[in-house]
Amino acid sequence: MKDLGAPLLFRIMEKRKKKRLREPNPFMGPPLKCAGRLRQIMTRHYYLSRFAKGARPVAWVTSGAPVEILRVFGFYTIYPENHGALCGAQKMGPELCAEAEKKGYHSDLCSYARIDLGHAFSGKTPAGRLPRPDLLFASNNICQTVLYWYKQLSHQWDIPLITFDTPYNFQEIRSGDIHFMVRQFEEMVPELEKISGRKYSHKRFQKIIRIAAETSRTWGQVLAAMKHRPAPMTIFDAFVHLAPVVSLRGLPVALEYYRVLLNELNERIEEGIGAVREEKKRLMWDNIAVWFKLRDWSHLFAERGVNFVAATYTNAWAETIHHLTEESPFESMAKAYSLIILNNNLSHRLKLMEKMIRDYQVDGLVILSLRSCKPYSVGQYDLKRLLMERLGIKSLIIESDMTDFRTYSEEQARTRIEAFLEGLGV
């Protein structure tokens, strides 16, 4: 698509950013040089989306959905969850949630969903304008919530909704489940051809699969860089740098970006540059980020010489997607997408967390209990207990939402964090 005015926009952004530049934090290492590039990529993505309508078919997609299949048909993809995170980071969560609540959506529902519905009703967004979709594409591999949520949009706008149903793995994945998912892909193809007006090309699909797998693998290497002491970046960086693997997966731009980021991290490792100047303790994060607290918390922990070096959330896009193979794209997609953390039983999650704690030499765990997200949060109390019993790992549970700070209590969170850090001896 023609790059209409994006360069100008970036220049304006850079100017604004320079104005906003805050004092560097003395407890943190130099910021990642890549950050500016990331900002450009994501701004460009949202900026161009304004012109996508009419030029390309537009799809709104859930974060765990197998987007590779849409790329074959040239869909311009928007990720409402990523948009929700953006709104959260810009502290617009409560405002957009309230728009949905005005229409009757309960304040107990997932705040990503409320933000998205609030945006759909009011048009408010920090991204300028989002194109209305031609297709809604949801997979319940992250939660059933997305199915309930997307069907509201589908009803509201009378837009087709394609659901990719991934049976939850109560135990091992079964051959019948894989077959079921492969057949869904086969059935999707003619539907997607109809909606997009483009023909399916197996060759194109294979190329996309190759890029997506490589992107996920490279993202995994980016995260693995944090195994080094001191870790060259923090999980708060990773929460932000996650955006391309979530929303641009399968496109060369995401892969290229992570190669550059990985190089930068390797350089930092060679030069012994840590994200936190004096890394005394290393922590792991469980659950989605608290978007409105990213900056505050990264400073708060850094001041005590504490770095977050791993998170189950960021790991989700590195855990299974690199298993995609161009030889059997449908089958490998079925397995990769149904085995992700939130579609897998809690025994798997416990083992994964144990492994991460060991691999990343983690000293403590911060668990975010999210009212918004049942599949991520139900089971955390037992995970906390079991990790303590098995590995002696201390952990802290914080109650908050990821975007809607109306229910967040700064005082309570601070007190708990302080007490936890004291317990860790920092």
Binding site: G104, Y105, D165, F170, K374, V378
Partner: protein, 370 residues
Amino acid sequence: MHITRKEYLLEQKEKGRRLMGVFPALYPREILWALDIVPAEIWDPPLEIRQAGAHLQPYICSVVRLGLELILQGKCDFLDGFLFPHTCDSIQNLASVIYDFIGARKPCYFFYHPKIPHGHTARDYYLKNLKALAAELKRQFGPLKMDSLREKVDMGRRISELLGELYDLRAARRLDASNEAFYRTIRKGEYLFPDDYIAELEGFLTQTRSEESRNGATIILSGILPNPPQILTLLDDLDVQVGHDDLLNGSRRLLISNEKPGDPFEYMAECYFHMPPCPTRGSSISDRMRHLLSLINATGAKGVIFNVVKFCEPEWFDVPNLQEELKKRGVPSLVLDTELNQGLSGQMKTRLEAFIEIVRVHRESITTKH
């Protein structure tokens, strides 16, 4: 039958039957019956939450919290296993908490039902899952005789016919039963073995079938289950009849299939795909709306009460659109945000009474217009 649920289940056990604790909501009960297993469904045990809070956050719905509490208080020790259908995120994770972490010390079974709109792929998959569940249960509780399965499918069919008749009579205002008595009876299906349930339903039909048409306002009750029961008694006191329901443990589970049972598995699959729409099966808003309107038309109901369990996502998401559509059609509706077994607060009671007033006025204005 005047014995309690617990006494009944213990009696069944003495007879040599096995007991399976079943979490909500949709599962092939005929397979269990054919294996001489009594499903004891766990919806809203009358307990105070004391231990479940150590495992579940306070923002998890009370169906899930009470279900776990029942296990933790040792009140399921006499059961022989658990079955977890895949109903929603919370039940899904609860199943894993119990199986993977707490340890039920009993065999656990899981049943996934497809969430995609119904087509061949979903149907074939459902069929496969039925057979897979039967094979697993057989290993522990077998053998599974096809004759027995056929017989139980027929019984399930008979139950559906009886329930259908009861619902139809009620819709036609020819059932002389209070709301409370209706649901008390219907809900015995949550634990009675089919022959006993059939007898119970037949008895109830005989006692309550009425030649005279009932008067009074009629509403539709939508939600997961008729709890707190005080809603029903308050409606009874106000002389309002639930004309039909759209409850997950009520009519949403009615097996309606025109097919004659041939192969029992095929028949069960057919029934699943013919059940009334439900968000836990991925039904669209339009399908739900069409269904609600058909219930309103069939009963002449003048309002809809959405009795929604607090924190129940599948229900809460659909409510605004359903309410909006009802409003467009001039049908008043009320939304109640309820916790199981917590009774009705004064405020809820007032809202319910005020709503009934609106329904009455609405009814009178329509009657006068005609």
